[in-house]
């Protein structure tokens, strides 16, 4: 395929510098040919390699990416501008993403011979997982996440590129394989992709795990398999634990990475939002033996997986947003002042009920304290002590919950504006359901100002459950005045 000269005009666009030349095609910076027309954002044109001898998969990849770019939206994908006709001159025009590819962090670590700090790996991973989750909620799965396809913007957020192998539940899967030929990049491909399964959001969680592993260890967890047999190994083989290669890896990070890399999808994080949550809250990661081990799992475990893997085969997937919705992150806002026992009891009952019908759901218990509140505390107690005291109260509150099969974490937020803090937290952590008391957080001023529950209900990015007291102690004996209002 011939490189286009800068200045070439195509369908009203003028070609600029070629910023990438790879096996799949070329990427150019472009502008509008009409000098009076200013693009609303920088643009890039991707021209797929599609000359005579090129395989059909490039054409399909182009079609798939065209479909996906038109359908996807949000800050984690490039905005779509235009596409060239497949028969005449195929190209895709999209937003040019100004950022660093994730590959730069890996290259830098190799050059400087220093692994990135755990906190930096966690931040990159959380950005990646957040971006992947945004895709999953739009019923798409990327299926080809790798360091070259991820751009990190200067604000630390991630943008995903290259949707040529992706899957979208609303469109016919042009790459569907009933012949069990894997589609994807061998290094990052999830085990279920190896047997031709597409459409599982947890495949992206696996790919993120591979990237985190390489960031932490400087090695690939499954090498670069060249054969089908080599590729299939990951269906039963777990990688060498990161701490065996890079002993400075904290146990929580190893726990996160190995959970992403579980050969069985159902043992991984159930959604990318759960993964992002752990990476954003390292101190809340429940570290198991998986986080501490320095050798691979035993032969028995591998044999069991091997037998299971032999029966795995292609099957159509349900919509990712439905899969992800079934294992939500539930957040409960626990008030710390002016809260009656009845309120706390009712919140606990409602939380139990919500978790019970959502197997695998994780729970975030959140309390908001205002910055000045420590002043009222006993003199001599510093802010950390106040913080710790609140965490203890949260833990105590949660003791009455049935948390079998649920992960739980505790968070004390400091903010003056309680409603804002709760809503922001829900948004940042992809919360699916926010539970709070209907009559908490300053309800006494209800008639004068919009109360916290009302504001949260109006502004929250998710469903909000307002819990009424189920033990109306104050109202015992008041029933007659409540009934009969509508008589006549």
């Amino acid at each position: 395929m011939k490189l286009m000269e800068p200045g070439t005009e195509i369908d009203g666009f003028v070609i600029g510098e070629c910023v990438h030349a790879g096996g799949m095609g070329h990427i150019y910076r472009i502008g509008y040919a009409d000098p009076g027309r200013k693009p609303p954002f920088p643009m890039a044109m991707k021209v797929p390699r599609m000359t005579g001898g090129d395989g059909a998969e490039n054409i399909v990849g182009f079609e798939v990416e065209h479909q996906l770019l038109q359908a996807l939206h949000g800050p984690h994908v490039p905005r779509f501008v235009a596409a060239g006709d497949l028969a005449r001159l195929p190209y895709l025009v999209m937003e040019y993403i100004d950022g660093r590819p994730l590959q730069h962090w890996l290259d830098e670590a190799t050059t400087t011979r220093r692994r990135p700090a755990a906190s930096e790996i966690a931040a990159l991973g959380a950005a990646l997982a957040t971006a992947a989750h945004s895709l999953h909620m739009q019923n798409a799965v990327h299926l080809d996440l790798k360091p070259g396809n991820v751009m990190i913007r200067s604000d630390g957020s991630a943008v995903l590129l290259d949707f040529g192998l992706s899957w979208h539940g609303h469109y016919p899967d042009l790459l569907a394989e009933e012949t069990r030929l894997p589609v994807g990049s061998a290094v990052w491909m999830a085990p279920e992709q190896v047997v031709g399964m597409r459409g599982d959001p947890r495949s992206d969680v696996f790919a993120i795990g591979v990237m985190l592993y390489e960031l932490a260890c400087g090695e690939l967890p499954f090498g670069e398999p060249q054969t089908r047999g080599g590729l299939r190994q990951r269906l039963w083989m777990d990688p060498v634990p990161p701490r065996a290669i890079a002993p400075e890896t904290p146990d929580w990070l190893q726990e996160v990475i190995l959970r992403c890399l579980e050969p069985e999808a159902k043992l991984r994080y159930p959604s990318a939002a759960h993964l992002a949550f752990d990476l954003a809250n390292p101190d809340q990661v429940a570290v198991s033996e998986r986080g501490r081990r320095t050798t691979r799992e035993g032969f028995g475990t591998r044999l069991r997986r091997w037998i299971k893997a032999a029966g795995m085969h292609y099957e159509p997937s349900p919509l990712p947003s439905l899969q992800v919705d079934q294992i939500p992150i539930v957040m409960v806002a626990v008030p710390w002042k002016d809260a009656s026992d009845a309120t706390l009891y009712s919140l606990r009952t409602a939380t139990n009920r919500s978790l019970g019908i959502r197997p695998g759901a994780r729970l975030a218990c959140v309390t908001v304290v205002s910055a000045g509140d420590s002043d009222h505390m006993v003199p001599g107690r510093g802010e950390t002590d106040v913080h710790r005291a609140h965490l203890d109260r949260l833990r105590q509150w949660a003791r009455g919950l049935d948390l079998e099969g649920h992960q739980v974490s505790f968070h004390v937020l400091e903010a003056g504006d309680v409603a804002r803090a709760l809503v922001d937290y829900a948004r940042a952590n992809a919360i699916s359901l926010l539970i709070l008391g209907a009559a908490t957080h300053g309800v006494k001023f209800q008639r004068l100002i919009a109360t916290v529950p009302v504001r949260v209900a109006m502004e929250a990015p998710c469903s909000v459950m307002l819990v009424k007291q189920s033990l109306p102690f104050e109202r015992l004996g008041m029933e007659p005045t409540l009934a009969g209002d509508n008589a006549g």
Binding site: E57, Y171, A176, E178, V183
Partner: protein, 255 residues
């Protein structure tokens, strides 16, 4: 002749004498900017209003719409009282409800319409008068092959009362896809496509909403549509006409 002006083709099939559903679908298609209409057969059968439904289609055909013959239409023209199949059982009643001009209209309907790369047929493009059902990729593949022999890349049909899109996958195999209503699907002409567009008058996928599809012929984008309509009124009309009560009941549950 179509010319270069944008062409949005509303594809409606298996109306089954359901006037309420047809009216709702036509209004919806109008709101979506449909410029052309095609009725893929089974205008009558099961429902209470064969006459009014045929009148609407006749009027639209006079204005340039396409209409095809389905097995229920054929049975309404020449009902066989000894045949226990649903189309013939209902055909006896439909025959009695239709005027001579309405029956002549049904009798003259074609089995297949081909327009450029599009092929419209009630059932399968393989021997259309055999009324074969297309529910599996292998059946779709046969119909697509028959259409390909007539230089058609896009086959649209009804008969099965379910919305489904069949296409050629990466390995050349025919794959089935369950569409989400309201999503515009690109159906480029370098592939073969076959869509069963669902039923206006008697959906059978467990949802009561009337089904049809719109093809933007200019951009080659296909949208499957579901339209809520007054299925209680349609059911009441069926009972009032003295038709089997199951014909009425099934509308509410989409069976």
């Amino acid at each position: 002749m179509i010319g270069l002006s944008p062409m949005k083709l509303a594809l409606l099939s298996d109306l089954h004498a359901n006037l309420q559903a047809l009216t709702a679908c036509l209004a919806d298609a109008h709101a979506r900017g449909a410029t052309h209409h095609a009725f893929l057969g089974d205008l009558v059968g099961y429902g209470a209003d064969p006459g009014p439904v045929v009148d609407i289609v006749m009027r639209m055909v006079n204005q340039g719409a396409w209409a095809l013959k389905g097995n229920h239409d054929a049975a309404a023209v020449n009902p066989d009282p000894t045949n226990r199949r649903a189309d013939h059982v209902g055909g006896v009643w439909s025959h009695s409800q239709l005027s001579r001009p309405q029956r002549d209209f049904l009798a003259d309907l074609p089995l297949v319409v081909r327009h450029d790369k599009l092929l419209l047929v009630h059932a399968s493009a393989v021997d259309p008068a055999r009324w074969s059902y297309i529910t599996r990729p292998s059946e779709a593949a046969e119909s697509m092959t028959a259409a390909q022999a007539q230089q058609a890349t896009h086959v649209f049909c009804g008969h099965v009362h379910e919305q489904r899109l069949f296409y050629t996958g990466a390995t050349g195999r025919t794959m089935a896809f369950e569409p989400t209503a309201g999503v515009a699907l690109p159906v480029p002409a370098h592939r073969q496509w076959l869509a069963t567009i669902g039923s206006v008058g008697q959906p059978r996928d467990g949802r009561p909403e009337a089904g049809y599809a719109i093809l933007d012929v200019t951009t080659l984008q296909l949208t499957f549509v579901r339209v809520p309509y007054d299925h209680r009124a349609a059911a009441a009309a069926i009972l009032k006409a003295g038709l089997p009560s199951f014909n009425a009941m099934r509308l509410a549950i989409g069976q």
